[in-house]
Symmetry: C2
């Protein structure tokens, strides 16, 4: 399956999570085994060199776990606060309204490990930037971040580039 | 890798999420590519006949997505309230203290599809039972539920059996 053949499995839902927003829904893609596998393969083709994958809760878990299964790499999980049982490190970051926090097990990243970040969607890049900060704080290097789709016009790619991280997305939609 | 070789990657963390609880932490297993792949293969070996996989947010996404990648099946995601953008059906269920709710896209399950439920841990079975109810309400059949581990003594297996669902777990620990 090519990217053009995968694209119809991305559904546009108007007015979610708020009026005026077009939400790009990946559940039809996940629900089709061939489309999900082809998406994972396309992500892997663009992954470059890395030792471990880091997936961001919750939808980044889906593509991170699929990529880990395909490639045999281990998966680090980057979670919302209070979810990880062992010693964690955290990073607070600003949202459009309010703030949020991501956490990581302090021992999740072997020293110097090359970590490939993965999430479903690149929007403003705030969450991905926070994950990069956290993975580096834990001792890893991060040079590339993979996304199934990028919402263009929210400057997420520029924000990651400014951190020395190359964002790579399979699909691009206007925000 | 055998189950005996995977077991050391399950870490016991005392006093999480509350004092006196021994939490079985699967993050070391996820972080080791060979252990994660072997776990997914062991789940697949015990999966029986099915058309689609359903993974429960958030840790069920990890094993559900890995199994989908391994087997080429599609993945249905069962989510916490307010996360799914399209028309949903929901089911409220009681917790030890308070209640919770799971949601599913109303069109996620083709009529009569045989759905294999997957989550990381079987404890009281309340969440899994709610997911089964929801998947059946959406038009699917559910006969088996897979877990990486079962906390024995909380009667989760009996609860699922009473719903006509066979629970299958790779590992068992006292609750």
């Amino acid at each position: 399956m090519t990217l053009d053949q995968i694209a119809p499995y991305i559904r546009t839902v108007p007015n979610f999570p708020k009026p005026g927003i077009l939400f790009r829904d990946l559940t039809p893609l996940l629900g089709n085994g061939a489309a999900f596998r082809a998406t994972t393969a396309a992500l892997s083709d663009r992954a470059g060199d890395y030792d471990l994958i880091a997936g961001i809760e919750a939808r980044g878990f889906l593509f991170g776990a699929a990529l880990a299964q395909l490639t045999g790499r281990g998966l680090i999980i980057v979670r919302k606060p209070g979810k990880l049982p062992h010693t964690t490190i955290g990073h607070d970051y600003a949202l459009e309204y309010g703030h949020d926090r991501l956490e990581l097990h302090a021992d999740a990243v072997p020293a110097g490990a090359r970590v490939l970040l993965i999430d479903d969607v690149l929007a403003t890049g705030g969450t991905a930037e926070a994950a990069v900060t956290l993975l580096r704080k834990a001792g890893g290097t991060v040079h590339r971040a993979l996304f199934v789709l990028e919402l263009v016009g929210l400057h997420g790619a520029a924000r990651l580039n400014a951190q020395g991280v190359e964002p790579v997305s399979l699909f691009r939609y206007p925000a």
